[in-house]
């Protein structure tokens, strides 16, 4: 019923779904038969056969009771299956996501992921809980009634059946039109949404430069276009729906008139006519409700498709036969990497960073500095060449071993919900309180804690929201100090910190990086100049390499870069 659902939910749930579907179908057929009992019941009534009429009513009551019980149980089962299914999906998504490469988790992914693993799963629950029943009943009950009608009067049944394909074709035509209008409308809505975002984000610019006069704004034009698209959407939908309703009503009118003429000619009797007309109405009703279910079903189908795509995102392969590292040196051997096949980010990068040395990576923005750093931590695997730590290819290391050897301090720091101490302890869960306090002191987190009620036990809020960027960085440094891994990967902050945070971060980093193999994407002149070796990256290639003095003496790209940065540091406003 929903493509991909069995794959996402697993075979057991799929089997339960099929079983419950079958039970609902049986119930729907029985209800259809119950409706048909109306014909003999009325016949007996009007022929004065009261006992037989009561027998029919008794049978109908039995069908009703059966329906009530079946419906209750299938409903309970539907929810049960929905909940089981959601459990399976949560579990599978959770496990799979945990194995995805680190590089996969960028901002846009995590936003979508949050929605998929909450709202998305709930949408999927509605399939067995709400959607299966009306869909199945909508087909099986009218079909049963239609087939049985033929036994009473084949001409009327045929008339009803003749309209079925017409109704179907009209419905398909309307749906196809609607889809086109949907697309046009969605497009207009996206354009308008972009304009609205622009309106909100660039409000200061628009206002400062007089761009808000209604008639002239692009926002207003986009809104008007969206209105036009919505209007033609409404008209298309109205046309399609009316077409469908017209077909149904013409059918009903035809059966009514035909039935009346048959009754007047004595070909059918009054009870039969009435019963058949009542049944025809019952036949038509479920068709109307199916249109509403469609949109809910579409949402669920979309979510399932997204889950399926997520579950088939390849995970980072773990080696069958993992090797231990024999040292803390890092080597790149002809490493190439691209996020998209046609745009290489790194090509043929080779260098060595001896244990306990410091390597600074510099270069223009977009030259691949951060990517280089991330390949060491296996955010992604290199497309070509090899990244080795301690002589062993990172792909031959167990993920947990590799991570144990590295500390990563990046610009964007995300703190987990909990208190400061918990966030620091993440670096080494077995650490004692004294060790946590010492790490906090070295990164000057103790100074932050002193200002907060609860000290190190103060909660950091969702994502660390109650702390400033500099304070979050200090906590992440304390975390890394506690971990005390032999290799440190550092992405130096570009954003402006106030002098107090800046000093605290620098002193924390000094404690962290002492006697470590350090690879740093460097922006501070001091950091760059004190590095053992500097890699100057340009368009994904190491353009120059060497110590600061060597490279300045070389008088090439790095020398120009350094000169530029030096001037920037000497710049005075209004000089």
């Amino acid at each position: 019923m929903i493509a991909g659902l069995p794959e996402v939910a697993g075979p057991e749930v799929a089997r339960d779904l099929r079983r419950n579907g079958a039970a609902i179908a049986v119930e729907a057929v029985v209800v259809g038969l119950g409706f048909i009992l109306l014909v003999p019941a009325l016949r007996h009534l009007f022929s004065g056969e009261v006992t037989e009429a009561w027998a029919m009513v008794g049978a109908l009551a039995l069908v009703t009771a059966f329906y009530g019980v079946m419906r209750f149980f299938s409903q309970v089962r539907g929810y049960k299956i929905g909940v089981n299914m959601a459990g399976v999906i949560f579990e599978r998504l959770g496990r799979h996501i945990a194995q995805l490469p680190l590089g996969w988790f960028d901002v846009s992914q995590t936003g979508r992921l949050g929605r998929l693993t909450s709202q998305g799963v709930i949408e999927v629950i509605t399939v067995p809980a709400h959607l299966m029943r009306p869909l199945i009943v909508g087909i099986f009950t009218p079909a049963t009634v239609a087939i049985c009608m033929a036994f009473f009067d084949w001409r009327l049944a045929l008339t009803a059946l003749a309209f079925a394909p017409i109704a179907y074709v009209t419905h398909r035509w309307a749906a196809a039109n609607l889809q086109r209008a949907d697309k046009a409308h969605d497009l207009a809505a996206v354009v308008a949404a972009n304009r609205i975002l622009e309106f909100a984000q660039a409000q200061s610019v628009m206002r400062a430069y007089g761009q808000l006069d209604r008639e002239s704004t692009a926002l207003d034009a986009a809104l008007a276009t969206e209105r036009d698209a919505a209007r033609s959407h409404v008209l298309t939908m109205g046309l399609g729906l009316s077409g469908f309703v017209i077909v149904i009503q013409v059918a009903f009118t035809a059966i009514l008139l035909l039935g009346v003429s048959f009754a007047l000619n004595g070909r059918i009797d009054a009870p039969e006519l009435v019963a058949l007309l009542v049944l025809t109405v019952r036949l038509v009703e479920p068709m109307f409700s199916s249109a509403e279910i469609g949109s809910v079903l579409r949402m669920a189908t979309n979510s399932v498709a997204k889950m399926d795509a997520l579950l088939s995102t390849p995970v980072l392969p773990e080696p069958k036969d993992p090797k231990p590292a024999e040292g803390d040196d890092i080597a790149f051997d002809q490493v190439s990497f691209a996020y998209a096949a046609d745009r290489p980010v790194l090509s043929g990068v080779s260098f060595e960073a001896p244990a306990r040395s410091m390597t600074a990576v510099v270069g223009p923005s977009g030259s691949g500095k951060t990517t280089l750093l991330r390949l060491i931590a296996r955010f992604w695997d290199a497309d070509g060449g090899a990244v080795r730590i301690g002589g062993v290819d990172v792909r031959e290391r167990r993920a947990a071993d590799l991570m144990a050897q590295l500390s990563i301090v990046f610009q964007d720091v995300y703190l987990l919900e909990g208190d400061i101490a918990e966030n620091i302890r993440l670096g080494r869960p077995s650490a004692s309180d004294a060790e946590v306090a010492e790490a906090a002191r070295l990164a000057q987190v103790d100074e932050i804690a002193a200002r907060l009620p609860g000290g190190l036990g103060a909660p950091v809020g969702e994502g660390g929201a109650i702390l400033s960027g500099g304070e979050r960085q200090r906590i992440s440094i304390a975390r890394a100090i506690l971990k005390d891994a032999p290799i440190v990967l550092l992405d130096e902050a570009t954003s402006a910190l106030d002098p107090i945070n800046e000093a605290a971060v620098q002193s924390g980093l000094q404690s962290l990086t002492r006697n470590k193999t350090l690879v740093v994407v460097a922006h501070r002149l001091h950091t760059i100049r004190t590095a053992d070796q500097i890699l100057f990256l340009e368009r994904g290639v190491i353009a120059e390499r060497g110590s600061h003095d060597d490279l300045v003496a070389l008088g090439g790209r790095y020398a120009a870069f350094w000169d530029n940065r030096l001037r920037a540091s000497q710049w005075r406003l209004g000089a």
Binding site: A98, Q211, M403
Partner: protein
């Protein structure tokens, strides 16, 4: 009720549609009555065929009327809805165009988008369907029931019995359900939070090799949500199934036939009188579900309307009653006169600031984060109005200036930059409409961005879309070119703009130097070295001016600034980064 105010522009259309829908609802019952009457005549006998054909004809006409009326009512409400949507969006956009600029910093573009796009859309069901659905759901059963009362009031009341029982059960459940719903919403919020934390925190957790913990925590929270969900549903399923059963057509049919047989047996009704009930009674309960769903939609629409009203009720910056103009050849100095400001009406972010920015001079604001320097700088381009005191430009209080006049004197460059969706040339020319291409190019050169623009496929005519190919630092320089071309006499800027993108820091600095030449400048300073040449340095602390004067005077005064300066020197000394 917020909804009533919002839909006022289309109230007439909705009333009209409701009347048309009422006609449709009556017309919808007529064919059923016709079928019942034809059946009765056929059973009882003694009829003229013409009589039967007449009734059948009426039924056919009623079907046509219904079709026309339903379509008409839907068309009216839907077109009204489409126009209302545009109207509301325009009203909100116009209103927000007058809200304090600072409001946009607090609220975030996501919420604006949600109100203008999603919330307005959420009201569709209300305007397009709810009112007419309710009319149909009330009129149709009333007409049907009236007819049944006319046939036999005793029987009609008996048919009502299961519906009354069902409704009573429903209303007792409602209270319970509200409580359950609350629990459910809380559990849902919890699983949402767990999802967000899982998604955002997983990278951190993975780097510490604690993967197992992360997803078990998420899965266990998700599962406890499911348990809660199932417990809630399971409790309601029993009563809900009984209500569903009572309202179902098959039950109604059994009930009607059993009651009819009994009543006919006792001679209360004629056997033929059962027909109208068999035809009409099964449809009596259906509309209640429509009503329930319409109510649900109305609640959602009301919540959306509330959010829309929040936007429409955002206080705007008061426009001056009698706008003041700048003098003819103004002296572009700026006075802050006893300026205090508070975001929340309690905590003062600025407290009695008196400050004069000399015409053509540079004033730098320094101080720890939270001292109020950004707020003070943003009061000048009226991101907010100060709560107390007054700010004057060239002697004119900024509150008395038309927006256009204010911005003809003040330009500002803060860290957050967003280029507009238009060509680069248009983006730069915003500040001087009608500028020649040569002027635009000159500004771009001065802002060190000309060469980068020339590398683009369409050069200056390249459209800056939402996925602009420019980096933050490059967009920053386009904004600087714009400010350069606009050439306003007063400039407010954040020095941090320069190092948002370290690789082009020097280029941005050169552009800034161009921009401030000869202007009255207010700069938020982060690095003391940058502003040592400023005409005056203002040291802010907790919203008050602690010290003020040129660099040398402040050093000599040996106060807070001197301490900050020596801390900087010490750190530089320790790191060996005295930049020479």
């Amino acid at each position: 009720m917020g909804v009533a105010r919002l839909i006022r522009p289309v109230r007439a259309q909705i009333y009209f549609a409701c009347v048309v829908q009422a006609i449709a609802a009556v017309a919808a019952v007529i064919p059923f009555i016709a079928v019942a009457e034809i059946g009765r005549l056929l059973v009882v006998g003694g009829y003229e065929p013409a009589q039967i054909w007449l009734i059948a004809g009426i039924a056919a006409v009623a079907l046509l009327v219904r079709l026309g009326a339903v379509t008409g009512a839907a068309a009216v409400t839907h077109i009204a809805d489409v126009h209302l949507q545009l109207h509301l969006r325009r009203e909100m956009a116009a209103h927000l165009g007058k809200a304090p600029l600072g409001w946009f910093l607090d609220i975030g573009s996501g919420r604006v988008k949600k109100a203008l796009q999603d919330d307005v859309h959420e009201m569709h069901h209300l305007v397009g369907h709810s009112y007419t659905n309710r009319v149909a759901a009330i009129v149709t059963p009333l007409v049907a029931f009236g007819y049944l009362m006319y046939v036999s009031w005793v029987f009609a009341l008996i048919c009502l019995l299961p519906i009354i029982v069902g409704m009573l059960a429903m209303s007792t459940m409602m209270g319970d359900q509200a409580k359950q719903m609350d629990l459910y919403n809380r559990a849902l919020a919890d699983v949402n939070a767990a999802s967000v934390e899982f998604a955002q925190g997983i990278a951190v957790i993975k780097t510490f090799g604690l993967v197992e913990g992360a997803h078990t925590r998420f899965i266990s929270r998700a599962k406890s949500f499911l348990d809660q969900f199932y417990a809630m549903v399971r409790g309601a399923l029993g009563p809900m199934s009984i209500i569903d059963l009572l309202f179902s057509p098959i039950f109604s049919l059994s009930w009607v036939l059993a009651a009819g047989l009994a009543l006919a047996g006792w001679g209360v009704i004629a056997a033929a009188d059962i027909l109208p009930f068999a035809v009409l009674a099964p449809g009596l309960a259906g509309p209640f579900f429509i009503l329930a769903s319409a109510n649900h939609q109305a609640t959602l629409a009301d919540q959306a309307a509330r959010r829309i009203l929040d936007i429409l009720e955002t206080p705007t910056l008061p426009a001056p009653e009698q706008p003041q103009r700048f003098p003819d050849s103004p002296e572009w100095s700026v006075q802050f006169d006893g300026v205090s400001f508070s975001y929340d009406g309690e905590k003062k972010v600025l407290d009695g600031v008196d400050l004069e920015l000399p015409a053509g001079g540079i004033t730098a604001l320094v101080g720890p984060s939270g001292s109020g320097k950004s707020t003070l700088a943003r009061l000048l381009p009226r991101f907010w109005d100060c709560t107390e005191g007054e700010i004057r430009i060239a002697g004119a209080p900024i509150r008395n200036l038309e927006t256009a006049d204010l911005f003809s004197a003040v330009s500002f460059v803060f860290q957050e930059t967003r280029l507009l969706q238009m060509t680069i040339a248009e983006n730069i020319a915003l500040g001087r409409p009608g500028a020649s291409l040569a002027e635009i190019e000159r500004a771009a050169r001065a802002a060190q961005i000309h060469e980068r623009i020339c590398e683009l496929p369409d050069g200056y005519q390249t459209e800056m879309g939402p996925d602009a190919q420019f980096s933050g630092g490059e967009a920053q320089r386009v904004a600087l070119a714009r400010a350069l071309l606009a050439d306003r006499p007063v400039v407010v800027l954040d020095e941090a703009t320069a190092f948002a993108d370290p690789e082009c820091e020097y280029e941005i600095q050169k552009a800034l130097s161009e921009l401030v030449r000869g202007k009255t400048v207010l700069v938020i300073a982060h690095r003391l070295r940058t502003i040592v040449n400023a005409d005056q340095i203002v040291v802010l602390d907790q919203g008050r001016i602690r010290e003020i004067g040129p660099h040398d005077d402040l050093i000599a005064a040996d106060g807070l600034y001197a301490k900050m300066w020596s801390a900087l020197r010490q750190e530089e000394g320790a790191l060996g980064e005295a930049a020479e």
